[in-house]
């Protein structure tokens, strides 16, 4: 750790650990936040950054360890508690009320009231306007939040945090939806806050951004802090090295089989965004049988949206897709599944599983027609298929009639994968297949992917984990801001090249679309 300090430490985390049911999110972390400086926190998805920040903001309580604020030990029982001690946070997921106005959002839970406890709307809007003016966002305080673009909503979130007058301000990926011009304004605001002595904790994936505005950098990997330095002493290589590390995760080995003919091709896929512009911007790619194509990109790069278009979930989407060289003209999900497409969605709970149904019913939900004669489900055939899938994917379940919600995250994910496999797909789309599952289950999932590719499936898998995409893919497509910004052969590329490609398309030329 660097010894030289130009800034006082205001907040210190000592030996903090956080354990969730089944997984350890943060392990023995020591972290210092310095006054009047930008303290950067960086790490891959799932490294524990957000958990660490939620502990500081009082949203989560640490399982073990101490928090020292101004040298005194504190414990926050709620986020309100943390706010009252001058800690504010801009969350990664927007925490706004779409049905309320901008001003009402900024002053939510601490409304300005007059003597009769009536909300002083005029006063709130006047004060809100001052904060918004700082951000040069062109947002009127009386506008409804749901009418704003996502980027503007993010600015409202930032204005809300700034209005707290916090001594410590945590920003979790504040620029993920901002245009280049908006990012510049945000940086100006941050500089201003710095001169007022505010300690800023800044989380981002965009390395060039971090290097520009950071004063101190802390790198997290797998819940551990792997490096802590002053920013002026480090470069991109150092950051990547700390992020990725040298110890390899348990990725199944490539068995060296040769991919076959092209099994899937997408041409000129476009999806308009509700707020204008394109969420998926003329993406074309192809996959061969037995090939794993990794799609790397940051949050909001358009990976999930691309998969949604391919599955026919958006009627506004345009473009053509081909399976085995034949165009797929069916536009609805049900018939695309019959043509051999299957999706493993990113959000298991909301889109992958019917949580109140049994493991067995979930597994066969997409493929019931296989077990039906006339209109009767043949129980024996169904049970047999379920038992086989449970065995093949090593799903840990006592009885397939158990509700699927009683399984651990990793086993739930295997159920989602099993459901897709039972449809007998030719092309498998996997959106963040390893998100939120434990190490053992991850290894199982990766092994399954290898096996499926050996069996001749074409696999597209989207991830924002650099390790994963490098270890598993035969080829790597990089998406940024809805566009395909790079296509690499795994053997001939480096992590740095991929990270660089994932930051393209955010330039001022493409950034603003109104």
């Amino acid at each position: 750790m660097s010894a030289s300090t130009g800034h006082d430490v205001i907040l210190e985390l000592e030996d903090i650990s956080k354990v969730y049911a089944g997984t350890v999110a943060v392990k023995h972390a020591n972290f210092e936040v310095r006054k009047g400086a930008v303290n950067v926190l960086v790490g891959e998805n799932g490294a524990g950054k957000s958990t660490l920040m939620k502990i500081i903001a009082g949203v989560e309580r640490p399982t073990a360890g101490r928090i020292l604020l101004d040298g005194n030990e504190v414990s926050f029982s709620s986020s309100g508690d943390a706010v009252s001690r001058g800690i504010g946070m801009v969350f990664q997921e927007l925490n706004l009320f779409g049905n309320l106005s901008v001003a009402e959002n900024i002053f939510a839970t601490r409304e300005l009231t007059n003597a009769f406890h009536k909300i002083d709307h005029k006063g709130q809007e006047r004060r809100a306007a001052e904060f918004l003016e700082q951000l040069e966002a062109g947002i009127r305080p009386d506008m409804l939040v749901e009418d704003l673009r996502i980027g503007q909503q993010q600015l409202v979130e930032i204005a809300k945090a700034v209005s707290l007058d916090a001594r410590i301000l945590i920003m979790d990926e504040p620029t993920s939806a901002l245009s280049a011009a908006e990012v510049e304004i945000l940086f100006k605001v941050i500089a201003d806050l710095k001169t007022r002595g505010v300690a800023i904790v800044y989380i981002s994936h965009r390395l060039e951004e971090l290097i520009r505005i950071g004063d101190y950098i802390t790198v997290l990997r797998d819940g551990r802090i792997t490096g802590q330095e002053e920013m002026r002493n480090v470069d991109t290589q150092w950051i990547v090295r700390q992020m990725i590390g040298s110890d390899a995760k348990d990725f199944a080995k490539d068995d060296g089989h040769q991919p076959g003919d092209e099994v899937f091709r997408a041409e000129e896929i476009c999806l308009p965004r509700v707020t204008g512009g394109l969420a998926v911007d003329h993406v074309s790619l192809s996959v061969r049988a037995g090939e794993i194509l990794g799609i790397y990109g940051l949050m909001g790069a358009g990976r999930s949206e691309l998969f949604d278009c391919i599955m026919g979930r958006h009627s506004q989407a345009s473009g053509r897709i081909f399976i085995d060289g034949k165009q797929v003209r069916e536009r609805d999900t049900a018939r695309r599944i019959q043509r051999g497409l299957a999706l493993i969605p990113e959000d298991r709970q909301r889109e992958g599983l019917v949580s109140i149904l049994s493991v067995a019913s979930n597994l066969t939900l997409a493929s019931l027609s296989r077990f039906v004669s006339l209109f009767h489900i043949r129980g024996g055939a169904e049970r047999q298929a379920v038992a086989q899938m449970v065995r093949e994917l090593a799903i840990k379940v006592a009885d397939p009639a158990q509700e699927v919600s009683s399984l651990s995250g990793g086993n739930q994910q295997k159920v989602v994968i099993g459901k897709a496999l039972l449809t007998g797909p030719k092309v498998l789309l996997m959106d963040e297949p390893s998100r939120g599952i434990d190490v053992g289950a991850k290894a199982d999932v990766f092994r399954t992917m290898r096996k499926l590719s050996r069996d001749g499936l074409g696999i597209l898998f989207a991830t924002s984990d650099l390790d994963e995409v490098m270890a598993l893919s035969d080829r790597i497509a990089v998406m940024s801001n809805g566009k395909l910004t790079g296509m690499f052969d795994r053997a001939e590329t480096t992590g740095a090249a991929i990270v660089a490609a994932s930051a393209l398309g955010h330039g001022p030329v493409h950034g603003e679309q109104r």
Binding site: M311, R313, D332, T333, A334, R336, I337, Q338, L343, P345, R350, E351, G352, L353, V354, S355, I356, L357, S361, L365, A366, L368, S369, V372, F375, H376, I377, G379, A387, A398, D399, P400, E403, S405, S406, S408, K419, T423
Partner: protein
């Protein structure tokens, strides 16, 4: 193949599981409780004649409640069933009395079977309108079926100018006789309406359990997005449940008109509420995804026997309403408690399994 782990987990939660089992059987326990109570409190309660009479009353609500169960399982609600009962009764009555005037000097009269089929078709069609409003025009089920509740009731009143179609015996020379069979006829000693209930209930239970459509109904109610991504044709499933609900309502319309040998346009007012009550009492979750046909039938019997029994005891109808309401509330409270207990037991098992 999976007996061992299940047994190993059982003792750890045995005190909880006994309570849990009792709660799962709550509707049955309630049924036995009302039966025992009234057999003591009301003389002649267990006479064959009385039981058959009560069963005929219960059957009407049970039909509606079955249709309602499927609708609620998909996460919807059907408020229009009472009005469909009324309208379908009027359709049947009108066809028996007047036939269809072809405007060219001829009037077509249908026989009773054809009349029944046309009436069922009307019920299914109104259900289809509900389904289209909900799936194509994205109207919330509550609002869509509230609308058809008014429209169907209005049409029923218009069909006769608010009057009753009396005396539906039909004329032998027109071949329209025999309409009374549905309501008054008997087969092997039991009323025809009971037999129809048995057939429809078995059919519905089979559908729920052994067909893809049944599985899809539960999937749509459990998680519509996941169902859609899994290739379930969500709109078709929803169309079906509202059409089936309309079909059930049409059967009730036919049976009531046949029993009374008359069609009154106000028939079936507030029937939808009894149907919802029976479904909920039988364990159907208003948030969708949970419910069984068997449970709903038992629920309908509890409500029906409760109200008939109270009438026989001479309890005022005002008190009857209070009691019915309390029973429904208690049922839902027990249901919620059971869920909580269930999830706690599951968590304990998970913790035990590691």
């Amino acid at each position: 193949m999976t007996d061992i782990p299940a047994k190993a987990a059982a003792p750890s939660a045995s005190s909880g599981s006994l309570l849990l089992t009792l709660m799962k059987l709550r509707t049955f326990i309630a049924l036995i409780a009302v039966l025992v109570f009234f057999s003591v409190a009301v003389p002649n309660f267990f006479s064959a004649a009385n039981l058959i009479l009560m069963a005929k009353h219960v059957a009407l609500n049970a039909f509606l409640a079955m249709g309602m169960t499927f609708v609620i399982v998909t996460g919807g609600i059907d408020l229009s069933v009472g009005s469909i009962v009324g309208l379908c009764g009027m359709v049947a009555g009108y066809l028996v009395l007047n036939g269809i005037d072809l405007q060219i000097g001829y009037t077509v009269y249908f026989n009773v079977v054809e009349i029944a089929l046309v009436t069922l078709l009307v019920g299914i069609l109104i259900g289809a309108v509900n389904g289209l409003l909900i799936t194509r025009l994205n109207v919330a089920p509550f609002i869509a079926t509230l609308g058809t509740l008014y429209v169907a009731r209005g049409l029923a009143l218009l069909s006769s100018d608010g009057r009753t179609f009396p005396n539906l015996v039909g004329k032998p020379e027109l071949g329209t006789t025999g309409f009374g069979y549905l309501g008054a006829g008997r087969l092997l000693g039991l009323p025809v309406s009971i037999w129809i209930l048995v057939v429809v209930a078995l059919g519905a239970a089979y559908l729920a359990r052994y067909t893809p459509l049944g599985r899809h109904i539960f999937a749509v109610g459990g998680n519509e997005r996941a169902a859609r991504i899994s290739g379930v044709r969500v709109n078709m499933v929803k169309m079906f449940v509202y059409m089936f609900s309309g079909f059930c309502a049409a059967i009730v319309g036919l049976i009531i008109s046949s029993e009374l040998m008359a069609s009154h346009p106000a028939t079936g007012e507030s029937f939808e509420l009894n149907a919802i009550a029976a479904a909920v009492l039988g364990g159907t979750s208003m948030s969708g995804g949970r419910g069984t046909i068997g449970g709903t039938i038992v629920g309908a019997f509890v409500i029906g026997i409760l109200s008939d029994g109270l009438v026989m005891m001479g309890v005022s109808s005002f008190w009857q309403m209070v009691i019915k309401g309390l029973v429904i509330i208690v049922a839902v409270v027990v249901d919620q408690t059971q869920r909580r207990l269930q999830s706690r037991v599951t968590l304990m098992q998970m913790a035990k399994a590691g």
